[in-house]
Symmetry: C2
Subunit: 126 residues, 2 copies
């Protein structure tokens, strides 16, 4: 796709919503710069710009839980994408849950509603 | 919920992904400040902070296509939410489509893959 057709923000990023291509579950919200998007489209494997690290990483680089790109959608403002992906290993969240959105608001409380697939201490070390 | 439990960004906002509570379709990515989130949780109707206008608006204020909140999820970093909503009127996008993500990347091209529910010229005027 034409990367100049997107509206990159003042940090050179677009927001990307990752959604399981089969179940429709929203797994993660992450960010891409041009390099991350180009690498994702070229390789078919999701690469994101990790704002905390200031660099591009392939999703699942450490955990093996890579994401295979199935479909890309662009929003009306051209500053956000939805990527429908196949989640290898079953967990998108670095905390070991299937989805990063594993907590549910119930009144004043947050309850864990998601399923833990792996123990992050075993995957990333202590 | 405890609004202090969220990580508000340097503009006082969190990102919110809106998803149809029945079909799972991702409809919009928008932003909320504390006031928008409080009004949404209190009223059960989605309010967002429109960055282009610099103010809180109820979704569907002009078009009538309000969004009724069914469930709220919080991500691992506590800086993004998923809200599962019922879309009144069938269209979440100001361009009249069901979803803002109505364009699909196909090779170098963007093709319209979404369904147009209303004509924006009739709803918002020219």
């Amino acid at each position: 796709m034409d990367l100049d057709a997107l509206k990159w923000d003042d940090k050179g990023l677009v927001s990307v919503i990752f959604q399981d291509y089969e179940s429709g579950e929203v797994l993660t919200l992450a960010y891409m710069n041009r390099e991350a998007l180009k690498r994702t489209l070229d390789s078919g494997r999701v690469h994101v710009f990790r704002r905390s690290l200031g660099r591009v990483m392939m999703k699942g680089e450490t955990s093996g839980n890579v994401q295979l790109l199935k479909e890309t959608r662009v929003d009306c403002d051209a500053d956000a994408l939805v990527m429908k992906i196949e989640q290898v290993g079953g967990a998108a969240c670095h905390e070991g849950y299937r989805s990063c959105f594993f907590r549910k608001v119930e009144g004043e409380a947050l309850t864990v509603a998601g399923e833990r697939v792996f123990d992050p201490r075993e995957v990333y070390g202590e």
